[in-house]
Symmetry: C2
Subunit: 178 residues, 2 copies
Amino acid sequence: MIEIMLKYIQALPHTQQVLRKGQYLFHQGDAVVSMFLIETGEARLLRRQRDGSTIVLQRALPGSFLAEASLFTASYHCDATATTRISARLISRNSMRKLFESDSAFAAAWASHLASEVRSARLRSEILALRTVAERLNAWIAAKGEFPPKGTWKSIAQEIGTSPEALYREIAQRRSGK
Amino acid sequence: MIEIMLKYIQALPHTQQVLRKGQYLFHQGDAVVSMFLIETGEARLLRRQRDGSTIVLQRALPGSFLAEASLFTASYHCDATATTRISARLISRNSMRKLFESDSAFAAAWASHLASEVRSARLRSEILALRTVAERLNAWIAAKGEFPPKGTWKSIAQEIGTSPEALYREIAQRRSGK
DNA sequence: CGTCCGCTTGACTCAGATCAAACTTGGTGG
DNA sequence: CCACCAAGTTTGATCTGAGTCAAGCGGACG
């Protein structure tokens, strides 16, 4: 389903853009003109608080869309910035909307993509709501169906919301305890 | 947008169902026949692990759909059970799909609904990834735009992944510190 | 061969989970 | 009107999981 969607989107007219670390893709209040598909690097959606601190609303890694919600919104409701140097594909929002309205197979693929995003975001929430590293790791394994391969541990620690050390220790303990 | 969607859905043929606490709405592998709109009570999507423990994939409260993802899937990929006594509205999946394919305004409303679900689930993830109760509460307030009203605190503690006591204490501290 | 990065392990410390007990409030039925 | 109950809130005391800082290891790579 996702592949169908990407095929559609790859066929649409688009432009490429490269941004340096720290640059903005858009600001809150900007009119939505393009959709962003991240190809390399990492971008984040941020909401800025009155006291100057910010909260992260989304972390977009390669292959993911930024601000899916903006397909049917007139203006952005938050800022987007490049956490690293990124390259992104810009697709005009209007062309996507036309496609959405004229081709129900694309509409279905888009809805299906969103549904799977919902699922994975909810899964992460539920994992993060667990109290101990052991429980979180169990849940992660149960959801993904495999023990995390070495080399990915650090980023998985991020994903399940613990420090790398805590995850390493949990893994070490399982190895010895077995 | 959401209201548009609900208006559409309310117009569709449906049946009502009441389930006692602990009963199942569906099981993993069941063919998807109906969509569920929860009207009262709480239901959960669960994945059962080999060792008997379960992980929660979604908590559905009144007004929310269960298993949005299943609109375009043949069978369920997890179980759904009633955490409390619930009443739910059942809408045939086929009638929703027909509506989706024939009416692009409904398709847009549905996509927009899903997008907002994505946003709120991601927000919760980001909040839960914060380390301290103070930070989580700040982020919650920043996102919702208001200080949580008394009476909702306990459930907000759930939402931000802390014990009620910890949240009470944080709030008490802010009151005195001001 | 030096440098970087992911991993490993130790030690210390503390935020917050947990258990417990009391108090406030609203609702219910007698 | 009052006794009574349930839920939510408040506050105290205790204990532990894991965050943090630190030091060392091994493999990849220019």
